[in-house]
């Protein structure tokens, strides 16, 4: 059995509250031991001196676009981008074409992922058939087939009664419901945050209340039903407050945010920069502050990319016509490092927890920790590694990043998936 030894890295595992210089030995696809000064008995030794070794990162909110929009991304290209971003597990959203609202869809994703995926892929099924918010999807069957959660992400279930039934039904199968919170009536026609910038630019705004109202409603419904809900891509101060209060009351709610919501504001839209167009929209400095506080006090459990690739032709257009969404798999980690760790919003361990242990716990994945006998998914981070984000940086099929032009620091340099070194020194390693 092939052995890989990772020497002298600073091992951080929030699950064990570990933060010390340790060696890790991998045998086959499992971690066989991790302790100080393991003997050099492996065929492959990785010198991790000065580097950080963490459980493989989990991005629980990704759009891989397959099936249907293979021109934008495929399971192969999306998982390659994940690999370069130090991410060893992705959860892919159901809003493909056709959407994942039945067992054959789930099986398609799992088969594709098995054959072409470079990281672990966990499918998410839809809450309602065809994401229409009318009839419930076969959550039981899909759960058996392998989904880890249900979500109608990209759309909203406007009918509160249907949402109530959906929560009850998901609870039956112990599935968390990931909720895209948007009151579609309030947000109708909107293309950016409603406020000073939208007024000056003459663009139709999406009021923050479109998010807040739905977060409040679904927390109430979670209380009513006892279901587990997870609020996707939190962007407002009020949402953070609502989740915080709900958690205090013991309601089963968790939530996530994305790097752009703790880094950028509506001002970044500037002169109609369509790479700044996403849902929910970029908000204000006050919201950034609240989101950072929510991350620090544990209100916000996870950080996700909401990786949403779009082609140039979908973005090089009038702002109104441009597609919503940004890529993020490859910039998730460096933005956490630069904006949260370096700026002391979170300790390194707390930050890593939000992309490892926390999503694994919410989705009940046997991932996100370093444990003897468990699958060896590991990410080695060079906190000093600097790279400029430009079009040539990306391995995704699309480059619609709001961070183009920035120099970021703190990248994954080596990614190990199921005991295989799949990316080493920022170079892709083929099978």
């Amino acid at each position: 059995m092939k052995k890989i030894l990772i020497k002298n890295g600073r091992v951080i595992d929030p699950a064990n509250k570990t933060d010390e210089l340790l060696d890790i030995l991998i045998e086959g696809n499992k971690i066989s031991s991790f302790k100080k000064s393991l003997p050099f008995t492996a065929e492959k030794v990785i010198d991790a001196q000065g580097k950080i070794v963490v459980p493989g990162l989990i991005d629980m909110h990704v759009h891989l676009r397959e099936p249907g929009r293979e021109d934008e991304e495929t399971i192969a290209s999306g998982t390659k981008a994940a690999l370069m971003g130090g991410i060893t597990s992705v959860c892919c959203m159901a809003n493909t074409n056709p959407c994942i609202d039945n067992v054959s869809g789930v099986k398609f994703i799992l088969l594709k992922a098995k054959n072409e995926g470079l990281v672990n892929v966990f499918p998410i099924g839809s809450v309602t058939k065809e994401l229409l918010g009318r009839e419930l999807s076969p959550m039981g069957e899909m759960s058996k087939a392998g989904i880890v959660a249900v979500s109608d992400d990209g759309s909203s279930i406007m009918n509160a009664k249907i949402m109530r039934r959906a929560l009850e039904y998901a609870k039956t199968f112990s599935l968390p419901v990931i909720i895209h919170s948007e009151d579609l009536n309030l947000s109708q026609g909107g293309v950016m945050n409603e406020g000073k910038v939208s007024t000056v630019l003459g663009l139709i705004g999406i009021p923050r209340e479109a998010e807040n109202i739905m977060v409040a409603r679904d927390i109430a419904l979670a209380e009513l039903t006892g279901a587990k809900i997870h609020i996707a891509h939190v962007s407002t101060k009020e949402s953070v407050g609502l989740v915080k209060e709900a958690k205090k009351k013991g309601i089963k709610v968790t939530c996530e945010t994305c790097p752009h919501y703790f880094t950028l504001t509506e001002k970044s839209v500037g002169k109609y920069n369509t790479n700044m167009k996403m849902k929910p929209p970029l908000r204000t400095q006050n919201d950034i502050k609240a989101i950072r506080e929510g991350l620090a006090d544990g209100t916000i459990d996870c950080i996700v990319s909401d990786h949403a690739p779009h082609l140039d032709i979908e973005k090089d257009t009038e702002f109104n016509l441009a597609a919503f969404g940004v890529v993020g798999l490859e910039t998730l980690l460096p933005l956490i490092m630069v904006e949260l760790v370096e700026k002391k919003v979170l300790s390194l361990s707390e930050a890593i927890k939000k992309v490892t242990l926390n999503p694994a716990t919410i989705l009940k994945l046997k991932k996100g920790r370093i444990k003897v006998g468990e699958c060896a998914d590991l990410t080695i981070i060079d906190s000093q590694k600097e790279l400029r984000i430009d079009a040539g940086f990306f391995h995704s099929k699309c480059k619609n990043s709001p961070f183009i032009g920035r120099k970021l620091k703190g990248f994954a340099v080596t990614t190990i998936v199921k005991g295989r070194i799949a990316m080493e020194n920022r170079t892709f390693v083929s099978n």
Binding site: S198, K271, D316, E318, N320
Partner: protein, 306 residues
């Protein structure tokens, strides 16, 4: 003294000196209109393309006449809005126009930011002739010119803009221009037609028309799109007229010598009564004349900015 950019996309990013230069240059151009030969050879051989994605007879005619009075050649390209979504992309369309070696592209588009996108893609000078609810800079300039001509100054004047500010590029360009030149600006409309945080542009918001007109030097009334009442923004046009229509009785709240302005085309009897539109305070037709002079000045000044 020259303009800083090759394009005129809005008044927000012009500085006061540039606004003044355009207004000062428009004066001699207006004088040309009194001659029997109203044409000068200044832009002989230049090509001006009028790219209109929205029907607008007035603005197009005004630009076309301005270009022709400067001896430039004009080409009209009309694209129906329906083809925007399905057909050739905006960028492809303007690149085709650039390949025809146009010196100027004058663009009117229903979506905010369209002129900005075009200006980034091509070397020709781009003049924004109205982009969605964003800006309509030559309208703003011609309004400033008209006010300055009639009042002798802009600084210190009180101006109330009445109507659909939410959807109005004319309102935005006027607010930027008037604030830049030192006027005090108020906006007045039902709250459904006032965009959020408009106060950040330096204006005061009123819902009561009579109060908003107190001591003003200029009443600027915007066209109300007749289809707005279906969009849940108004209950009925009748009610709008009752509360926000400019009538002779309402004028008494403003200064005795106040100007009444409208960017046209007017809905007589809706936002403005016929009596006021044709009355001695109205400068609506002069706005039209001045529009040509302003557009000539802009074309002339940008021609030197390659």
């Amino acid at each position: 003294m020259k303009l800083k950019n090759k394009d005129l996309l809005g008044l927000e990013n012009l500085d006061k000196k540039e606004v003044q230069l355009i207004l000062d240059t428009a004066g001699p151009f207006k004088d040309l209109f009194t001659r029997s030969i109203k044409k000068v050879p200044a832009l002989r051989g230049r090509t001006v393309v009028l790219l209109f994605y929205e029907p607008s007879t007035r603005t197009k005619n005004s630009f076309e006449l301005a270009a022709k009075r400067l001896s430039a050649d004009t080409l009209n390209v009309s694209v129906s809005t329906s083809s925007v979504v399905k057909g050739e992309s905006l960028i492809d369309t303007v690149k085709t126009i650039e390949a025809m070696k146009a010196d100027f592209v004058i663009i009117r588009h229903g979506m905010a930011g369209a002129a900005e996108i075009v200006s980034r893609e091509i070397k020709s000078s781009v003049i924004n002739a109205g982009d969605g609810a964003h800006e309509h800079p030559t309208q703003g300039l011609l309004d400033l010119f008209t006010i300055r001509e009639k009042k002798g100054k802009i600084k210190g004047l009180k101006v109330t803009i009445i109507g659909d500010v939410l959807h109005s590029r004319v309102a935005r360009s006027n607010i930027w221009g008037l604030k830049k030149m030192g006027a005090e600006v108020r906006v007045c409309a039902p709250a459904t037609l006032i965009p959020k945080e408009i106060e950040s542009m330096g204006v005061e918001v009123f819902y009561d028309l009579n109060k908003s007109l107190k001591d003003v030097d200029v009443i600027y009334t915007l066209r109300i799109q007749l289809e707005r009442q279906k969009g849940q923004l108004l209950s009925s046009l009748r009610e709008y007229t009752e509360f926000y229509g400019i009538t002779k009785e309402r004028l008494k709240y403003a200064k005795e010598d106040c100007l009444v302005m409208h960017p046209g085309p007017m809905n007589r009897g809706v936002e403005i009564s016929g009596e006021v539109a044709d009355g001695n305070r109205s400068v609506i037709l002069e706005q039209v004349t001045n529009g040509i002079a302003i557009r000539m000045a802009v074309l002339y000044l940008l021609a030197g900015n390659k």
